[in-house]
């Protein structure tokens, strides 16, 4: 092979390596960008008057007289809509049966669309579900709902070889020549005045409990649940892992038994997370009966088992990184082995141990599969501390899954899902960045 060819191969080899790393960085950015931009939308968004009404009625937030004046303004802007509807209905009742039959279905649909957009129609009985008691609280959703009010979706299945094609039909066509004709341009042109959108910062998203299965409110129960589970898992795993690491580094002599022990630890690290979940169900709940059914305690124990190997390895590494001279000096001053470990080696290894601990915390906070059968429920109140022994809890990770797939109105609450993802991912990333930062400081100190 000629030298030029070899050089070319060498360069492209380097290039492919750099390309791989660039792809990795690109993947990270592509992953995080939607989570951060759309996740922020859960807290920073354009809120309608319905949002402010909800805040006022449920939490007593905001300036009451001013808000009431605003609500009154919105009511005035909405009045023509309701008047047109009432007029039309009155006319319909007076008319003949054929006409009534013709307009019954379109009218019902239209009223429903207006109800979802603006909230309950005045005079109607107060609906049971909270999602029906308020109109659209977010301006972006309100615009979607407006288009539902103006157009109805028609599916065209005429071509059997292809999937159906969606077509938007203006509802106005159903009501041409009636009293309702002007309602559509009115809705379209006056949405602003009817809903009074305004930029809002809803930071209470983090501290409010959720209402009506996450249609309104915040994610405090999930945050608290994740906090309990993570801290609980650390409470079990940290002492056990630390002791195991001390034993393996300071006491154990290489023997067959220790070798098997190490294999077991790495096996534990390789067990699929869903298997941990099944084990937690079969052992902690069905056999040990730590609680009668799912509970935070059982979930925390399962998570602890999962992160135990990580903690052992990190702590072992940190202890091994302490220079042998420390220990030798301590022993030569007459300290016992335990004494030397406790007063000299552990403090020196502490930053390293902390780094590993923080990373495992992130892992425990983000893991879903082990808590599906042991601790997680989709909807729940924030737990008090003593309830963790008996009660299941919502958690960030589980609720992301649940709201994104099993919720009855997945599209309506995208912002909540993104908000949950944002909080979980930033929590985990902050923990990891803290670990990276600590590690950098340790290595600087070790280098002198």
């Amino acid at each position: 092979m000629r030298l030029e060819t070899r050089k070319l191969l060498d360069r492209s080899f380097t290039g492919s390596g750099i390309l791989a790393i660039a792809l990795m960085a690109a993947a990270l950015i592509v992953l995080l960008a939607p989570m951060f931009t759309r996740g922020a939308g859960a807290m920073f968004f354009t809120a309608t008057i319905e949002h402010r009404r909800l805040m006022l009625e449920r939490f007593d937030r905001g300036n009451r007289p001013q808000l009431e004046a605003e609500i009154e303004n919105a009511r005035k802007a909405r009045a023509p809509v309701y008047r047109m509807l009432a007029d039309f209905e009155k006319r319909l009742e007076a008319g003949d049966a054929a006409e009534r039959r013709q307009y019954e279905k379109p009218l019902q649909d239209l009223k429903k669309a207006i109800r979802t957009l603006l909230g309950p129609i005045p005079g109607a009985p107060c609906p049971m579900l909270m999602r029906d008691q308020y109109g659209q609280t977010r301006w972006d959703r309100a615009q979607v709902k407006l288009s539902h009010a103006l157009y109805r979706e028609e599916w065209d299945y005429s071509d059997p070889t292809r999937s159906g094609i969606m077509r938007l039909e203006p509802r106005a066509a159903d009501f041409t020549g009636t009293k309702l004709d002007p309602i559509f341009p009115y809705l379209e042109q006056n949405l602003n005045r009817m809903l009074l959108p305004r930029r809002t910062v809803y930071w209470q998203f983090l501290t409010d409990t959720s209402f009506d299965s996450h249609f309104f409110g915040g994610i405090w129960p999930e945050i608290l649940g994740t906090f309990y589970l993570t801290v609980g898992a650390m409470l079990f795993a940290l002492p056990l892992g630390l002791i195991a690491a001390i034993y393996l580094t300071e006491y154990a002599r290489e023997s067959r038994f220790i070798e098997i022990l190490r294999t077991c630890i790495s096996t534990l690290a390789g067990v699929p997370s869903i298997v941990f979940g099944l084990f937690g169900l079969a052992f902690f709940i069905n056999t040990l009966k730590v609680s009668s059914s799912k509970s935070v305690l059982a979930g925390a124990m399962t998570l602890a088992l999962m992160i135990l190997p990580t903690i052992i390895r990190a702590a072992e590494e940190a202890i091994r990184a302490v220079p042998a001279t420390y220990k030798e000096a301590a022993l030569s001053l007459g300290a016992g082995r335990w004494h030397a470990v406790w007063t000299i080696i552990l403090p020196a290894a502490l930053p390293g141990i902390l780094t590993g601990t923080v990373i495992s915390m992130g892992r425990a906070a983000g893991e879903t599969a082990p808590i599906i059968f042991t601790a997680a429920v989709s909807v729940g109140k924030p737990l008090a501390l003593w309830q963790v022994f008996t009660q299941p809890t919502p958690a960030l990770s589980w609720n992301i899954y649940n709201l994104a797939t099993e919720h009855e109105a997945v599209d309506e609450i995208r912002h909540v899902q993104y908000g949950l993802v944002l909080i979980l991912v930033s929590l985990v990333l902050i923990l990891n960045l803290a670990a990276i930062f600590m590690r950098a400081r340790i290595s600087k100190r070790l280098r002198g």
Binding site: R6, L8, A20, L28, G366, S397
Partner: protein, 374 residues
């Protein structure tokens, strides 16, 4: 004044204390061993009733998965194929990328730059699986469904074109090595033009075929494979980078001294020397992919049938892990039924698989370490 010599009693007490203490530590340490045994025991205890009730044959060979029918059928072959398919796809994504990145980290880029790349890998590893699953379901799946064909076509061009150009140049160089000086350039040009034209036509055809592709559903094996591949990347990169670092400086310097370029040094010396560790990295990556639950549960489509043909990545699939997670909710009420135990049978298969993988990779790493040490 206390004497320096300890009394007999104190020494005895100290010794007993030390023995007790170390025994206690050993006991605590053994807990993780106990945990492994317990996991095997409790999973197997709930899995065996299934095999007793239903036998092995249907479970491993049938694709009829109707656990809630009156005549319940528990054929899990489709799940095994599904798990295998997405794991294979993830491996295809993670292994080439991961090894290239690891080589780049250990032998190409300078130390100062490495400090910026390492956090990227750590962040990729830290992002929770449910967040990956959410991305796959909410962002990636609609994108695949609407723009999938074009996306695949662009990807095939981006990957194919540089590789094709490189291949053509090298091939024509190698072929024309034997020729006389004067005719060499001419022959090379002709060869390159011929090959280049052919390859361009081929790429254009492939791109055209791909962009005409209609993807019925974005939640399919391809989606999951790519996301799982990204999730497995950090494992592959960091473990194989460790293996590459463990190859000594002497080997590298010796290779350079013989006149090798960096690429030749890495490919001919370092990679063979680190082969064991890299294999271990690949195995660990596979384990990560096959044991992953949330991504496959959310974004694989969960259709319990074998794709047609079996390697069709654009069909929805269902994996073992997703079946366990998804069916437990319904099976929970009837603890003790075959429906409940079949999930444990699946878990047992996963457990045994990961145990075997772990054993193999441990063995490889240990042997490599012994070789490096002695």
């Amino acid at each position: 004044m206390p004497s320096l010599r300890l009394s007999h009693r104190t020494r005895l007490r100290q010794r007993i204390g030390a023995a007790l203490g170390s025994g206690l530590l050993l006991a605590v340490t053994s807990l993780s061993m106990l945990a492994v045994f317990f996991i095997f025991f409790f999973i197997a205890r709930d899995a065996l009733p299934f095999f007793r009730l239903q036998g092995m044959r249907e479970f491993f060979t049938s694709t009829h998965w109707y656990p809630s029918a009156g005549e319940a059928e528990f054929g899990a072959l489709a799940m095994f194929v599904g798990s295998g398919l997405v794991t294979m796809g993830a491996t295809l994504v993670a292994v080439p990328l991961g090894i290239a990145a690891a080589v780049c980290l250990s032998d190409v880029i300078p130390f100062s730059l490495r400090q910026f790349v390492k956090p990227v890998i750590e962040m990729l590893a830290a992002i929770p699986s449910v967040a990956y699953g959410f991305f796959a379901l909410v962002v990636f799946a609609p994108l695949l469904q609407q723009q999938g064909g074009h996306l695949l076509a662009v990807a095939s061009w981006i990957l194919g074109l540089p590789m094709a150009v490189l291949g053509i140049v090298v091939l024509s160089d190698v072929v024309t090595d034997r020729f006389q000086d004067r005719s060499r350039t001419a022959v090379r040009m002709i060869l390159m033009a011929l090959l280049g034209g052919g390859t361009l036509a081929g790429l254009a055809w492939v791109g055209h075929a791909l962009s005409a592709l209609k993807i019925a559903s974005g939640t399919n094996a391809l989606n999951v494979s790519i996301i799982l591949g990204i999730m497995a990347l950090p494992t592959v990169v960091s473990v194989s980078e460790d293996a590459l670092q463990a190859v000594g400086r002497e080997l590298r310097e010796g290779s350079y001294a013989l006149g090798a370029t960096r690429a030749e040094m890495v490919v001919k010396t370092v990679l063979p020397a680190a082969a064991g560790g890299i294999l271990a990295a690949v195995i660990l990556g596979i384990m990560r992919a096959i044991g992953e639950t949330m991504v496959v549960w959310m974004a694989s489509g969960n259709a319990a049938r074998i794709p047609i043909p079996w390697y069709n990545m654009l069909d929805p699939v269902r994996t073992l892990t997703a079946t366990i997670a998804g069916d437990m909710g319904e099976a929970d009420h009837v603890t003790g039924s075959a429906r409940y135990h079949v999930l444990f049978a699946m878990a047992l298969c996963l457990l045994v698989f990961s145990f075997v993988c772990n054993f193999i990779s441990e063995g490889i790493v240990r042997r490599a370490r012994k070789k490096a040490g002695g």
